[in-house]
Amino acid sequence: MRVISTHFGDPLQRRLGTYVERGGYEALKKAFSMGPDEVVETVKASGLRGRGGAGFPTGVKWSFMPKEATKPHYLLCNADESEPGTFKDRELMRWDPHQLIEGCLIAAYAIRAKHAYIYCRGEFFETNQVVARAVEDAYEKGYAGEDIFGSGNDIAVTVHQGAGAYICGEETGLMNSLEGRRGEPRVKPPFPAAVGVFGMPSTINNVETLAAVPHIVNNGEEWYRQWGTESSPGTKLFCVSGHINKPGNYELPLGFPLSELIDDVCGGIRNGNGLKAVIPGGSSVAILNSEEARRCRLDYEGCIDVGTMLGCASVIVMDDTTDIVKQVRRMVDFYAHESCGQCTPCREGSAWAAQIMKRIEIGEGTVEDLDTLMEVTEQMVGTTICVLSDSVAPPVQSSIQKFRADYLALISEQESAGAT
């Protein structure tokens, strides 16, 4: 069952001609005939939720924009995809760039923006080229730019290549970066719908969110709601990686059972090994042990029920050979490396936590270190400008709680080594 990944693997889809032959840009025409507010209402009714991690209802977000464009409005597409374990936006862009461009144009129209920026992660060279080429084609054929299809609507589309920083994926960090400043998140309020990029009302959406929009406009909200659950409707790309036989991107209805994803869709765990742990939503969410993983339904609420989050649905599967401490240490290293450095708890706490983790990993930790890690990461929650800081706690705390024996094994090795 595919909606947004239908054409993955088909290079022809990148061509504007093929895209149009297959029904492309019809949704944009339809949107123009509906009027902005009706587009917003349709997306609202579809229940589409942001695929960038937080799951905020997309139509509701759009409705925060001023109803009159007395100042320029901007639509920003967040294509900075950098969360460890996540590789869905890249695929959406490189296989079906026009689907995203069409989604951007519709969203821009809905929020009364005349300019859409696609902020693409710097390391995605090929992707950047594919999207930039597609934008050029769209301009050439009059699908973007001035007076699109003679409708009188002007919407410019600009592809901006980032310079490679995870924090530029945070919505306001992205805005600063786009403006040529340091990629540092801004204090909210003011929120982007009031003061966004270039100080103007802005809406920011993830690639996958925007890619779903043309289909919803074409087919209507009821059609979209045939998949998923009442509060998590629709389909979602799951980026599955780790110790499974068939890693990759899988588009599935929300609410899909995690165990079926692992065993059936992905062909089970490698070498017939047992399941040790799963991270269902990328590095920023709590780790599940195998028992929790078996119970987990993959939608926003289902994940909360087992004490974690769906995040951007980056499912990292770990078999029973996995060194959990090392995996968590690598995640903490990542956050320490990517913290922008503004907030004291994040700047100092992430690096400190990484140092403690490293010490434990190499067998120089103590039992007190575990308490310190719990407290240090707790001091980083809810105290900072953006939630990068908050993201350190879930992997660290959940792993200490659920895999304490793994930590203690490394610690007691050290303690017995000290005793001899």
């Binding site: 920083a165 922008c340 004291t344 100092e348 706490g349 690096a351 140092q355 105290t383 400008i385």
Partner: protein
């Protein structure tokens, strides 16, 4: 009248204008919420996360430096969440902080030291090796001790927003972030960078000139006025061992906000200058001179003057003299028969305004009381370097009284023809050779008094140093002479001297010494006079 909002902070109700931040509102109930990145003179990045407080109804503690007040808001700065956050932030700072307080210039006035002492953990939990950045010369008067930096970015924001000459930036990110200059282009050539040392909440930015000079707790702080130009920046003289050790700006939003220029900041060595005249000197007709006491000196002065009734009295004053000093002299001049009144002052080529606070500028006139001199009808003479212009006075055969002008460009012949030449100053030079009386006076740093700045604001200063030997304020000396001549009462305090002045000068009427307080008062007429 701005719209007012009523809220409760730590149980005390307070009314503040709409738009005020919680942090500023808390100041009004006497509560300083600990903070690092916030500075009232610059934008608020809300990045140190030290100032978080509980606001009833908010899901998590709010940054009080950017959260504005709301009607009926209930704020708790001492809630367990607020205190826990501060403890947490302080612990985070100490993970990499060198704690080299014993050799740190900031020690004793450091916000990290103070806040950790007040609320930090008694034992740090970090056992990891500390990050090392080392020391960097930022150019100008500034040294950067990277390891002590708390990354509040006040220095960066001062340079970009207030001085508006971007010379500093944050390089790298995460805990590798560090303040740096743009390649080798440091702070050299900027004129306000001393302020970043003041606003750095810790010992990361220190003054080269002050480096390891004295400990902060050995310094006495005296409110004063910068004597280096006519802006009249409010300052503090920091003194130890009867020497000015450094100069710091003092907040006055009407004049200099929190800032002062580097020129004024570093122009204080003259106050400490030794070789002062310590006792009155009387020279007789034979040219031989003797040091003497005040009584004898003043008697000689009165005797000298008594034989010269009817001759004109030429006075030369310095723009560093206080209003009270200058007024005492002009009044004495009147009583003795009147004559020309002149002053000389060095001038800079240009005014140098602070772009982010443009009402503050290092003014062209490099003296603090040009306004006062002009108000008393004393005329400016001489070149822009403060020399010349005394041709008429030099050979005057009546009475010459010089107050404060150091006459460095003049030679021994100055005043040689005078019937009576009285020099009131701090140092002898060639041009004081002919003086019948050389009387030691105090500098502004050794006496109380007032200056009138370029816009007619009268501002008080207080004595910070013990005067050398028998040096006395000029108003006291001249007041005593005047009392003798006019059978009046000599003022016994600077306040009385000011009162006499305020009564005599219509433009100052209504101003009171007490009323001026720490931030001064503007005399309307003086303002117009100086604008003409």
């Amino acid at each position: 009248m701005p719209e007012m909002v009523t809220l409760t902070i730590d149980g005390t109700e307070v009314k503040v204008p709409k738009g005020t931040t919680i942090l500023e509102a808390a100041k009004q109930v006497g509560k300083v919420i600990p903070h690092y990145c916030y500075h009232p003179g610059m934008s608020s990045p809300a990045m140190c996360r030290m100032c978080l407080v509980d606001v009833e109804g908010a899901p998590k503690p709010q940054a009080s430096c950017v959260t504005t007040v709301m009607e009926n808001q209930v704020v708790d700065t001492e809630s367990s969440a607020s205190v826990a956050n501060r403890r947490g932030v302080l612990e985070f700072y100490l993970v990499n902080h060198p704690l080299d307080c014993p050799i740190c210039d900031m020690s004793g006035e450091c916000d990290l030291q103070d806040f950790v002492h007040a609320e930090g953990r008694d034992h740090g939990r970090s056992v990891e090796p500390k990050r090392v950045f080392g020391r960097d010369d930022f150019g100008g008067d500034v040294l950067f001790y990277g390891d002590r930096c708390v990354m509040c970015t006040r220095c960066v924001r001062f340079m970009s927003e207030v001085e508006q000459d971007e010379r500093l930036t944050v390089v790298e990110r995460g805990n590798r972030s560090v303040i740096d200059t743009f390649f080798e282009k440091g702070l050299d050539g900027t004129e306000w960078h001393g302020n970043i040392v003041d606003i750095c909440p810790v010992g990361a930015l220190v003054s080269k000139e002050f480096l390891h000079k004295t400990r902060a707790w050995d310094l006495d702080h005296t409110p004063s006025i910068c004597a280096s130009c006519s802006q009249g920046c409010n300052i503090e003289l920091h003194t130890a061992e009867n020497l000015v050790q450094r100069v710091k700006p003092r907040e006055n939003l009407e004049v200099n906000a929190w800032w002062m220029c580097d020129y004024g900041r570093h122009d204080y060595e003259w106050i400490n200058h030794g070789q002062r005249i310590e006792a009155p000197l009387v020279r007789d007709a034979t040219g031989s001179s003797r040091t003497t006491g005040w009584k004898d000196a003043l008697t000689s002065l009165l005797e000298g003057a008594s034989g010269l009734n009817g001759t004109s009295v030429q006075i030369v004053v310095s723009a560093r003299g206080s209003n009270e000093d200058l007024a005492a002299l002009t009044k004495l001049q009147d009583v003795m028969g009147g004559g020309d009144k002149v002053f000389r002052v060095s001038q800079a080529d240009e005014e140098s305004a602070l772009p982010g606070f443009p009402t503050l500028a290092r003014r062209k006139d490099l003296g603090p009381n040009v306004g006062g001199a002009e108000l008393l009808g004393i005329s400016r003479v001489g070149e822009s370097d403060g020399t010349g212009g005394l041709e008429a006075v030099k050979d005057h055969d009546g009475i010459i009284i010089v107050l404060g002008d150091n006459l460095e460009d003049q030679d021994e012949t100055f005043g040689a023809n005078a019937g009576l030449y009285v020099y009131l100053g701090t140092h002898e030079c060639a041009a004081t050779k002919a003086a019948h009386l050389v009387l030691p006076v105090t500098t502004f740093a050794e006496q109380e008094g007032t200056f009138t700045n370029h816009e007619g604001r009268i501002q008080r200063f207080w004595p910070a140093l013990q005067p050398p030997g028998m040096a006395r304020p000029a108003w006291l000396i001249l007041g005593a002479v005047l009392a003798e001549l006019s059978e009046g009462v000599a003022p016994r305090s600077a306040a009385e001297a000011f009162m006499n002045l305020a009564e005599a000068v219509p433009a100052l009427r209504g101003l009171t010494y007490e009323g001026m307080g720490l931030s001064g008062s503007v005399s309307e007429t003086a303002q117009h006079a100086s604008l003409d």
